[in-house]
Symmetry: C2
Subunit: 196 residues, 2 copies
C-alpha cells in the first residue's frame, strides 16, 4: 500500500500510528472500474468500504426504475469517504441500496467478520467502531434537517456553498435526486439563480 493511502486512512480515522497495522492487516484493496457495482440491492452488505481514489455513489432504485442518490463518496470529503449500507451490514439484512463506481476508483474494504474481530479485540477498536457509527449518524441527521428545513432551491444553494466540489465531480442528473428533485427542476433552479 502506498504511503499516501496509509496517511489518508490514518488521518481520516484519526488512528494512532502504532495501532494502524492492526487495521491494515484486515483490509482488502481493490481497483474498481467505472460503473462497476460493489453492492447490489437485495444482497447483504458485508463490508465497510473506504474511498482511496476516484468516486462512488450509493443509491436506491424505485419501482419505476428511477434512481435516487443517497450519498456520494470521494477522496476529498472526509465525512462521506466511507461507503456501506450500515443498516444491512449491522443487521445482516438485505439491502435496498446499490453502491457503484462513478469512475475508475481505488477502494479498500473491511469485511463483516474482520470488522467484528477488530471491534472486539480491544477497547480502543471498540470505541473506534462506536465513533464510526456516530459519524454516520451525524451526517444522516444533517440531511434530515436539510430536507425538512429548506426548499429545493435553498438546498441547492446550500450544497453549492458547502460542497462545491460535488458540482465538479458529479453529473447534474445525479445531484438532482440527491437534492430530492428532478434533473429538469435542477436545471431551472440554476437558470433562475444565474439570471437574478
Amino acid at each position: 500500500m502506498n504511503q499516501i493511502y496509509r496517511n489518508k486512512l490514518i488521518q481520516t480515522f484519526q488512528i494512532k500510528e502504532e495501532l494502524f497495522d492492526e487495521l491494515y492487516s484486515l483490509l482488502q484493496f481493490k481497483d474498481v472500474l467505472k460503473n462497476e457495482y460493489l453492492l447490489k440491492e437485495n444482497d447483504i452488505c458485508s463490508f465497510i468500504g473506504i474511498t482511496l481514489d476516484g468516486s462512488l455513489r450509493t443509491f436506491y432504485s424505485n419501482e419505476n426504475g428511477e434512481e435516487i442518490n443517497f450519498l456520494f463518496h470521494f477522496d476529498h470529503q472526509l465525512e462521506d469517504i466511507v461507503f456501506t449500507d450500515y443498516d444491512s451490514f449491522l443487521r445482516r439484512s438485505t439491502s435496498k441500496l446499490n453502491i457503484q463506481a462513478l469512475e475508475n476508483s481505488t477502494v479498500c474494504l473491511i469485511s463483516y467478520d474482520n470488522w467484528n474481530q477488530l471491534s472486539n479485540s480491544s477497547i480502543y477498536w471498540q470505541l473506534f467502531s462506536k465513533r464510526m457509527t456516530e459519524q454516520v449518524y451525524f451526517f444522516a441527521k444533517k440531511r434530515i434537517e436539510d430536507l425538512l428545513y429548506y426548499s429545493p432551491e435553498n438546498r441547492y444553494l446550500k450544497l453549492l456553498k458547502e460542497n462545491p466540489l460535488l458540482f465538479q465531480k458529479i453529473p447534474q442528473r445525479h445531484l438532482a435526486s440527491y437534492l430530492g428533485i428532478t434533473p429538469q427542476s435542477l436545471s431551472r433552479i440554476r437558470k433562475r439563480i444565474c439570471t437574478n
Copy 2:
C-alpha cells in the same frame, strides 16, 4: 420506581435483568408539566431521556419563529421512546433542538457523566451504548428515505399506516411540519384522500 416502569426499561432496551440495577442507580426520575421544556436551543444537551408516561416532542425553530418537529416521543413507541440531541450530547456542542412535553409526562434521565461512567464500566454497557447509537441512526436513515422517496401525500399515507397512534396523540399542526409540509396542506391532503 414502580414495577411497570422497570419492566418497560428492561424490555425496551433488552437489558439483562441482573445488570439492570447498574443502570437504575444512575437514573433520575422526573415529572414534567405540559409545555415544560427539557432542552432549549443553544443549551448543551447533557442527558439522554426516556419517556415513561405521556408524550414529548423534539423540534427546531427557524428564523421566522416557525417550529419544525423532528421527532415525537411517547410510551407506546419503542423506536423513539428515547429523547436527546445525540449530536449535542456526544460532541458537547450547543443544540439547535428543543425538547418539550406535549402533556404532563413522566420521564427518566441519565446524565452525560453517568452515561460515560456506565459505558466505560464494562464491555456489556459499552456495547449497549453502541447499540443505542445504531438505533438512533437507523431511525434517521429511515426518515431520509421517506423524505427523498415519497411525496408529501405518500408520506402522510405511510405514516398513517405505520404509526396511526401518532394521529391520535399529536395535534395535526405538529404532524404537518414532521411531514415537511404546512398545516393547510396536510388538511387538504386529508380531504383529498377521504373524498377519493
